[in-house]
Amino acid sequence: MKELLLNFQNVGVAYRKRLSIFSSKQWVLRGLNFKLYRGETLGVIGRNGAGKSTLLKLFANIIEPDEGEIYRSPNTSSQLLALNLGFNRKLTGKENAIMALVTNGSSIREAKARIQEIMQFAELEHIASHPLKTYSAGQRARLGFSIAIQAKPDILLLDEILGVGDKNFKEKSKKLIKQKLNSEQTVILVSHSPKTINNLCSKAIWIENGNIRAAGCAKEVTTEYLKD
């Protein structure tokens, strides 16, 4: 039996519609029940506004539910892979990378030791000491990806498969993500695309209007999603 990492029991999240004490609450997610075991790749599929972003925040342990309970296996870290790492445009690529690595969990010494390899992977060595504001959007995304992929959380959260940069780098980054998906890494992948979920995930849940519409084997869930 694999280790249980997450267990959602009747979980719900509500937001106030407006910033007013008289405003009523609106449920964005409600009555969610499911389990996640170590090593699984769980797909979450749903249309815009279905509650996927809020669900990601729950997975990442950034917010707490308003009802229900979430069991988390002790000392389990989870992290969303994102390219916006709170970069400071005035600082150099290298300085930003060190700041982001330390914020992401490295010690200062580790961050400094790994910086060269990261700039190399991002193909940005030649401009490592230039301020970030001189980087193109693609270069910034490459730097963001190269740093983010270093993180080794117990549960990796992906909001769509990130392929960034030009054609070459896109291939390189996609390959790296797929490697992670196929490894022992526990992954939750959120996507609009049934094809992506079907190809990469073993299990899936379909979120609609804040509820689970279907759950189970990825193939079955995506087939049903396509029928709808």
Partner: protein, 254 residues
């Protein structure tokens, strides 16, 4: 874990300090220039104003002892208001305790103050230091102001995201600190009952202590620091408890 948080504060605090110095032609020079310009403006306005008697170099020093520390506290409050929302990107990816961010703000601004402080000391020496000056006398004053700043910072950072309405009060509060802090007038020349009210401003006692040690060369009266110290400590406790309580609520309202 705690050690890791300290590393985050260190790199982010230093990073912000460095970023502060980029992007302008004069860079770090502005850290010194800005308080000097502020002093010049206040000198212009008040050396002939109010009672018309405060002129000359001693009034310049008097102003510097008030304005430099004031600037430190004012910037701290201003920057803390957005300390959490400025880090929205990071905070929507993984969990970090929120006190890290106002603490990093304090690190940045304290280091900046430590760059300005020698300028104050240099001016005191240049214009004429009291014979029996003990530079170390200002150590407890600086420490007390740091505690006060941390308190104001945690409280501001904790409350503003929850009740954004308070952000409208910040400029007024800072002006209030400025006008009631005895920064450009000597509080001892005010009537007794007014003095009592002015001493409610925690900066008032602190600024007076800077002056007694730097301008008069007298030993710091620690009892004058008790109130600002207690004020800062209770605000810090309030701020930290609030930050902890709403720890997982902030990402919802950013």
């Amino acid at each position: 874990m705690f050690k890791h948080y300290l590393s985050i504060i260190w790199v982010r605090g230093l990073g912000a300090l460095k970023a502060d110095s980029e992007d302008t032609y004069l860079g770090t020079f502005w850290w010194v220039l800005e308080p000097l310009l502020l002093t010049a403006v206040f000198y212009l306005a008040f050396s002939t104003g109010l009672r018309g008697g405060d002129k000359g170099t001693s009034f310049v020093l008097f102003l510097m002892c008030g304005l430099f520390p004031f600037k430190w506290t004012a910037s701290t409050i201003n920057n803390s208001a957005s300390a959490i929302s400025n880090n929205k990107g990071i905070l929507s990816q993984f969990y970090l305790p929120k006190w890290i961010f106002p603490t990093a703000t304090n690190l940045t601004l304290t280091l900046r103050f430590f760059i300005v402080l020698p300028l104050l000391a240099f001016s005191v020496l240049l214009i004429g230091a009291p014979e029996d000056i003990h530079w170390l006398d200002i150590a407890p004053v600086v420490a007390t102001q740091l505690i006060l700043n941390l308190g104001l910072s945690y409280a501001t950072a904790a409350v503003i995201p929850i009740i954004p309405d308070f952000s409208n009060i910040i400029p007024i509060s800072i002006t209030c600190l400025l006008f009631t802090g005895g920064i450009f007038f000597d509080i001892q020349e005010r009537p007794e009952n007014i003095q009592q009210i002015l001493y409610l401003n925690p900066l008032t006692g602190i600024i007076e202590c800077y002056r007694t040690s730097l301008l008069l060369g007298r030993e710091t009266n620690l009892s004058a620091l008790t109130y600002p110290f207690a004020f800062g400590l209770s605000l810090a406790a309030f701020g930290l408890i609030t930050l902890k309580y709403f720890d997982r609520f902030y990402p919802r309202v950013m």
